[in-house]
Subunit: 303 residues, 2 copies
Amino acid sequence: MTFPQKVGIREVGPRDGLQNESVIVPTRRKVEWMEKLLDAGIRYLEVSSFVSPKWIPALADAEDVFRMLPKRTGVTYAALVPNAKGLERALQADVDEVSLFVSASDTHNRRNVNRPVEQSLRELRPVAEEALAAGKSVRGYISMVFGCPYEGKISIGTVERTAHALLDMGVRELSLGDTIGIAHPRQVTRVIRQLKTTIPSGKMALHFHNTRGLALANTMAALEQNIQFFDGAAGGLGGCPYAQGAAGNIATEDLVYLLEQSGIQTGINVNQLVQAAGFIKPHIGGRLSSFQASLNEEGEDGA
Amino acid sequence: MTFPQKVGIREVGPRDGLQNESVIVPTRRKVEWMEKLLDAGIRYLEVSSFVSPKWIPALADAEDVFRMLPKRTGVTYAALVPNAKGLERALQADVDEVSLFVSASDTHNRRNVNRPVEQSLRELRPVAEEALAAGKSVRGYISMVFGCPYEGKISIGTVERTAHALLDMGVRELSLGDTIGIAHPRQVTRVIRQLKTTIPSGKMALHFHNTRGLALANTMAALEQNIQFFDGAAGGLGGCPYAQGAAGNIATEDLVYLLEQSGIQTGINVNQLVQAAGFIKPHIGGRLSSFQASLNEEGEDGA
């Protein structure tokens, strides 16, 4: 086993996390929270999404967030962009990187954005080109890489074709999503090993959910395949509110704790991440899906 | 990576789980629960503890449990035994295997049983001898193997000496406990690799807690070292009641799910374990620390 010496964390809590919480966090609180995440050492921040506010009211303040968030050197500020209209808003907000998304599952893609994968890819190509022409970099999410609630198994060949379609339009980095938290370590090894035959590991990030408690075991499997980039959501945001720890993104602080314990540098301070989680907690209904944050609370209660 | 083809599960929920819950479960309910665990395929059951009822009122009914639980062929019924008096009760109850326990940390051992490790080992030797003479097998728990809340780091040499002291008195299998859930995969690899230089891997079981969400990642690391036996507590019992998922034993159903997904046979049916968890849940305050059980509830609620 040889692990990478350094790993880059993509903090997606302010977008992927808040998008899946049932409450709307005041803009000013979001900005304060993101400042704390940056203070902790986060250097890649997916700030919001320029989808229609009708789809995702929780992120309707994307422009305001970008306006209020002071830019720091060395930080990449990203935003999700579903189409040309979203890109225009993102360019106006002066994002550094736009994230496009498509599903590895045709059925999920149709349910999510009402069109087949092929059509999504066709329509995203000019969006990527325009972003690149405007001097922005582009990231590509592929969801349901390890399984889909509608289609079940997803073939690695399908993932590979989708990945290459995104890379062909100039995508800098792929985020391979275990959207429903169904992946297991042996599968992670198998999928990445196959993808590496045509895609450099440095172009792949892994995006795990902890639905079955396997996100960190899967992270280990990915590290063994020399994956150097991982998505996380501070506080484990985006989980199911009544089943703590059950459904959300892997908490960035849990991920960073594992990496640092494994001797892998992240540049991020776990304690400060935990404090940031404590800051956002009351604004999202008082519950987090984070082992590190739970530990911290026990300490405070003297347990 | 070569994994074992089969893994043996040691179900410790009825003892280690219930011992750490703040409620007392009626004896009849315990027995019904254990019957369901056996129906699910559990073949090693730590039924209770013959410690003084003053110490652990939750397990004061050890004799009654053993009397009411019908014995099945092919199942090992074990019980924790702290001393000669406990052994006598265990022999009367006709247990198959007695579990002795000692800490790798002298400070923890003193706080737990009010004597240094050396004294514990000296006093346990005749207990082991008497158990063996009575035709019982003996298992040896070592707690705080990966770190201690009082002493911090524990040297592998200390663990190794304690392990050999137990093996020398005829212990069949060691249970190496990450009692406070502080272990991380790299450490698990290092500790087991060192212990394997003098102890066969077939004599070691690993006992992980999921305090930091790493129990399953640690399990993968142990499997890579050819460890073939793991402790689990059905339903994740023994956790902190207000921080779900934060402090208990790894839930047996989460452990079995990982193993079966990894192509490793356990002989245990996850769905039946989940049903057993659902049965015990109302009797322990309505909360479990189990990803598989949480998933099941979401399904029932239609979420």
